[in-house]
């Protein structure tokens, strides 16, 4: 910006007796705050007096710019440091919403946790509104198992709040090592359920009950925390359809964005996920990406916790799965009801009986084993039609008995594959829609499942001589159904298998074959494959982005 000076400024020639070293040593003394040394240097070099004001001024400027003494360490958040009435001692954690410090109230000597809104003065108005809303809601609550807020404020645009300090890890960290002892897990969830019920009776929904929001102190006492998503009954309803929360612990109504349906039973669902993870050691649903998990939450039925941890008694399985029901009306009506159930189990070792209707059970079975379930439904339906046909025309029995046998065999194979896939070491095999390319073991399993279908269908078609009839529509159907796995490679494989099987069928079938009809079917198969693969590609985009 400025041209270099033509000449050094005037001062140096007029002060030949003041070496730069002296000026430097004076500045060093000034920077260290060593007043004795400053005085001594000044006494030895009176000419220095004219320079001190400027150096002191620059020192003031340095302090004004850095805001700290000479030995400022590089990590921008060096601790401890003073913040208002608090002394910040250590960072406890950070999340999307902000940073939490362990702090001590200097005059009271009390230890608290101080949370700052991320983004400081640059946080958006929405973030600030949410932060303050959380603080206000939490300030309304006094409960021995809920982290309460003491103070909050805005310091030059930086929002902060001070709350109870819970000295320990959160439950999620604890469970990374594996499931808890059963009685302990039940006790913990019962206490948290009481706390959640207290929230509900105060007109507050937590909406984000999950293991990482449950803090445990040194003695293992749990505390519910983090009202970041909570909503009071007087609160605004502006969050229309926004998906908020953590996919793995989100209730289906939250995952689907059906905001109006969210009520106390959504928090009961959250408690169910906590109970599940505490008992089983793993969350009920854990997809490779957030979208996978959301789809699972909406469509799949979790395996019982005892599947992951054989120590879990069956009655607790039922309590847990009941909380995780898709329909809120089938969950325990209140958190208190869940707490009652759990406490009854602790006291008496039993759970109050709870009846379930047959359609519910069938629905749950289908959601738990969709691959085998829907195959059996299809196969069973076909068998019923064939059986009816036999009843209507008894003379055809001889022709249809092998068909019925074939269908039954196919059904058995489907169940066999399912059993193979859900064995404990391979629980993830069944999971539809893994976003990663299937690893070999899983891929082999899925491929075997689908090739079984293609072969079974082809054999049955050969048996009934259906090479040119409407039964051939089963091939495009298979291709379309394979798309449910959301794996383009699987669609390609099934398409190829169907085309091959169809060609073989055409060749081995006795009698004249209408080639043009066969080719039309091939084109239909290819079109179905193209459409299915295209749809998968579309869904893949957000899946990849949402990871």
């Amino acid at each position: 910006m400025h041209a270099p000076p033509p000449k050094p400024p005037m001062a140096t020639p007029e002060e030949p007796d003041l070496p730069a070293e002296i000026l430097d040593s004076y500045l060093s003394a000034l920077q260290c705050g060593d007043q004795t040394a400053q005085a001594a240097i000044l006494a030895a070099h009176p000419a220095l007096a004219n320079w001190t004001a400027c150096l002191r001024g620059l020192e003031g400027l340095a302090a004004a710019i850095a805001g700290d003494g000479a030995c400022e360490a590089d990590p921008p958040t060096a601790l401890p440091r003073v913040f208002g009435p608090y002394e910040l001692l250590a960072e406890l954690g950070r999340g999307g919403m902000g940073v939490v410090y362990r702090a001590r109230h200097v005059s009271l000597g009390r230890d608290v946790a101080v949370k700052f809104l991320a983004g400081g003065v640059c946080a958006s108005a929405e973030q600030r509104r949410r932060f303050l809303a959380e603080a206000r809601l939490a300030a309304r609550i006094r409960h021995p198992r809920i982290v309460s807020i003491h103070d909050a404020g805005d310091r030059d645009g930086q929002l902060w709040c001070a709350m109870d300090l819970v000295d320990g890890d959160d439950l999620a960290a604890l469970l990374r090592a594996g499931p808890m002892p059963v009685a302990e897990a039940v006790q913990l969830v019962a206490e948290i359920a009481r706390a959640v019920h207290h929230l509900h009776t105060s007109g507050i929904l937590h909406r984000d009950v999950k293991t990482s929001n449950i803090l445990l102190d040194a003695s293992g006492t749990p505390y519910l925390s983090d009202f970041g998503l909570a909503r009071g009954d007087d609160g605004d309803a502006t969050m229309t359809g926004t998906v908020l929360g953590t996919p793995a612990s989100m209730s289906p109504e939250q995952a689907a964005g059906r905001v109006r349906e969210i009520d106390a039973r959504s928090d009961v669902y959250g408690l169910g996920t906590v109970l599940y993870e505490a008992l089983g050691g793993v969350p009920p649903f854990g997809g490779d990406s957030a979208i996978d998990t959301l789809l699972d939450v909406l469509e799949r039925e979790p395996l019982p916790p005892s599947h992951h941890n054989p120590a879990v008694p069956r009655p607790l399985d039922r309590v847990c799965l009941r909380c995780l029901e898709k329909a809120p009306s089938r969950r325990p009506a209140t958190a208190a009801a869940l707490a009652d159930d759990l406490e009854t189990w602790l006291a008496e070792g039993r759970i109050a009986p709870w009846s379930d209707s047959l359609p519910n059970r069938i629905g749950r079975l289908l959601r738990r084993h969709p691959a085998a379930g829907f195959r059996l439904l299809g196969i069973g339906g076909t068998m019923a039609i064939v059986a009816l046909r036999c009843l209507a025309n008894p003379e055809t029995v001889g022709f249809y008995v092998p068909v019925l046998f074939g269908l039954a065999l196919w059904g058995c194979l489907a169940v066999f594959w399912e059993a193979l896939g859900t064995r404990r070491p391979a629980t993830t095999l069944l999971r539809a829609g893994s976003s990663r390319p299937l690893p070999v073991a899983k891929g082999t399993w899925v491929a075997a499942l689908w090739l079984t279908d293609v072969i079974a269908v082809t054999l049955l078609l050969a048996l009934v001589d259906g090479t040119s009839g409407p039964l051939l529509a089963v091939y495009p159907l298979l291709v379309a159904a394979s798309g449910l796995w959301l794996e383009q490679r699987l669609v390609h494989l099934v398409t190829l298998a169907c085309l091959t099987a169809h060609a073989i069928l055409a060749v081995v079938t006795p009698g004249p074959v209408a080639w043009h009809v066969a080719l039309i079917l091939d084109v239909l198969i290819l079109c179905t494959a193209a459409i299915t693969a295209f749809q998968i590609g579309r869904i893949r985009l957000p899946r990849a982005a949402g990871r």
């Binding site: 400024p9 001062a11 430097d24 007043q35 400027c54 003031g60 340095a62 004004a64 805001g67 030059d156």
Partner: protein, 222 residues
């Protein structure tokens, strides 16, 4: 620390503040009442401070000389936009607020510059206001800090210094930034500037002398 010792000394140079007509406290108050002209004057006066703070914080993070003009612009813009949100009253609070914005932007810029956005948690930086500590002391009525009017004088002094630094030749300003503001020893300054330590010392002395001249201090030996 430095400030404490500073305040013990007689305010040797405060008499010169009225010379440039800088009145931070008055403008701040008027601007907070909605006086647009006062607000413009306030931002005008603080520009050099923001510029210097931006340079300082960016340079300290990157350990190299870089162009800070982007984050100066950005910070001034944010301060302008967020002015209504500024809740403080005293110049001390005002400068702490400005600084926090600058530090935040410098942090982001440094991250971008290095191209290593490892953690996205950089947003906590505004907390960096280690200013918090010293500023908190400054506003404590119980402490033996100078009176509010003395404060105002001191801030005007700092604003005046920052402005004077801006008028220095580039190498003079750089060396004052490194030695006086970053408080680096000359061995380190020499490494950064690519000169010998002795040459740096001489350059520094000339820079200070030049600064004194700009500040209109009485000639030495006068």
């Amino acid at each position: 620390m430095a400030r404490d010792s500073d305040t013990d000394a007689p305010p040797e140079s405060s008499a010169s503040t009225d010379g440039r007509g800088v009145r931070i406290a008055g403008w701040l108050e008027a601007a907070r009442r909605g006086d647009a002209a006062a607000r413009d004057r306030l931002f005008d006066a603080c520009r050099s401070y923001v510029d210097l703070a931006a340079r300082y914080h960016l340079q300290r993070r990157l350990q190299a000389k870089v162009d800070a003009s982007d984050i100066v612009q950005q910070s001034l813009l944010e301060a302008h936009r967020g002015f209504d949100r500024f809740a403080g009253e005293s110049p001390g609070e005002w400068f702490a607020w400005l600084k926090r914005i600058v530090v935040h932007n410098a942090y982001d810029e440094a991250k971008r510059y290095r191209g290593t956005a490892k953690r996205d948690a950089g947003r906590e930086v505004p907390l960096d206001g280690r200013g918090d500590a010293s500023e908190a002391r400054a506003f404590d009525p119980a402490s033996a800090e100078p009176s509010p009017s003395q404060h105002a004088v001191r801030w005007e002094e700092e604003v005046r210094l920052a402005a004077a630094l801006e008028h220095l030749p580039e190498d003079h300003r750089d060396i004052i930034l490194l030695r006086n503001l970053e408080r680096l020893p000359f061995e380190e300054v020499a490494k950064r500037m690519g000169r010998s330590a002795g040459a740096c010392r001489m350059l520094w002395m000339r820079a200070i002398a030049g600064l004194r001249e700009h500040l209109g201090e009485p000639n030495p030996e006068a």
